[in-house]
Subunit: 303 residues, 2 copies
Amino acid sequence: MSLLPFIEQVDGFSYDANDMYKLMSHDGKTALGYLTSYIAKFFEKELGITVNHDSNTVKIDANYDTLSKRDELFRGIAEKWKLMDVFELDLKHGWRDELYTVYSPTSTPYMHIERAFSVLIGVITYGVHINGYVSDGETLKMWIPRRSPTKPTYPGMLDNMVAGGLGYPYGIWETVVKECLEEAGLNQQFVESHTKSTGVMLYMYRPDNQTIDRVQPEVEYIFDIKFPDELVKPYPVDGEAEDFQLMEIKEVLQRLRNGEFKPNCGLVVVDFLIRHGVITPANEPNYLEIVSRCHRRLPFPTL
Amino acid sequence: MSLLPFIEQVDGFSYDANDMYKLMSHDGKTALGYLTSYIAKFFEKELGITVNHDSNTVKIDANYDTLSKRDELFRGIAEKWKLMDVFELDLKHGWRDELYTVYSPTSTPYMHIERAFSVLIGVITYGVHINGYVSDGETLKMWIPRRSPTKPTYPGMLDNMVAGGLGYPYGIWETVVKECLEEAGLNQQFVESHTKSTGVMLYMYRPDNQTIDRVQPEVEYIFDIKFPDELVKPYPVDGEAEDFQLMEIKEVLQRLRNGEFKPNCGLVVVDFLIRHGVITPANEPNYLEIVSRCHRRLPFPTL
């Protein structure tokens, strides 16, 4: 049984983006994100934004020529939409009071926007995902948490050991250290001496079980923590995880195929199992498509 | 100093393929490869092939409806072109008497063609690249061979420990075992117990130092062999490698930046160093572009 359906669930956005509106920078030079026509039409009522239905663009007006002006513009729109019934589930319910950074072509910050709002306008969001594993050279086991039943998204599903978004003003490594402590009780010294950067996954998510059709390009920096033995254990701290289980790879694969993982976290596990020689060209018929689709080249400027 | 220029050297084909001709299957349904207009025009003189300059296609005629008929068709063309002055360097000089398989959309063989001919018609070629390394958990060293000064391509440059094309009728794993023995003197038992499948690289090469402009989409299956200690050593057998050196990572990186590696082998080293935490988002400014461009989604059916 191929794992391709799980990849299609996450990288669900067509390689042909003809039906999408582009969010354009104030100078008209750079596409920053994709919006569905449904969301694009709400921008018609916003000052500072011009929607063009011929060119399928939602453009920031030319006078928003500084970072702080753009931050202010989108803060106003996000606060307003938060109160609208139509965005209640996505925006009011999902509101995080956390800012995400959108980057310019020179990889400098172009604007900062509320995390819950970012997913509506199809800009790239960034995060870190950290696999925890134990290996004696023969057997390989992974630390797998179950998400709290009270989480607003994917309650009770399996997850990566630690994961978190890159909220302003935290950098990649700061986020790794912060989230490892907050979510799994792993202190900075342990994290610094056991964590290895092992890659990055890029894909375009198009959720199909949400109220509002939208596209979400994601960059997830991947890290592996190799635990020295089974005695050192992650444990729930902030309540994001209900518990952590040390699973043999056979069980991880079975639960993956059962659809028990939060979809993008399942993909991170697939990448881990590919790098560690468990999923191979010999046992996965769609190996090439899986690898290339989770390292997709995104059509917008990045960090 | 970013490693991006080395990636651009290998994945040198634009994401916009508007200037290329497509090699189309006999039923007209499937694009199998890209040809430059320069090469496309030579097919005008070939029976069994129809060139269309409006649709930019080089189509196999409808009556070539079996694998063996197509093998025969392209065997004839390759043999004929081998004798033409214009293809002397690429085809006569590079002739291998080795068949490469082109795949149909169902991943079954569509046709077999001479290895040296395959690169002229822009079909996907497949290979295995095998990194050899030693690690005590603290330091990491790689086994790096120097190519023989008598090799027709890239003589004297640095290479991956073992690499080889997937010639018909050998499978991926068979090729790993065969090449490890032939190129590095590693016996089957050692290879079977120390080799891990760790991923695949996909890119579109457009050589800029050749006589004929062409595009070469490549799939390279990646394997890592972790040597138990520094006493077990690879050694030259068939003369492809001049010698093998065990290099510290610092030296590998320096030689990579100096341009001493055969370009696509340098890219395999970059992937190894990304997976092993040496090249990270913190020290490589073009990390995202490098990772996505060496896992490119190819526009043709694959194995």
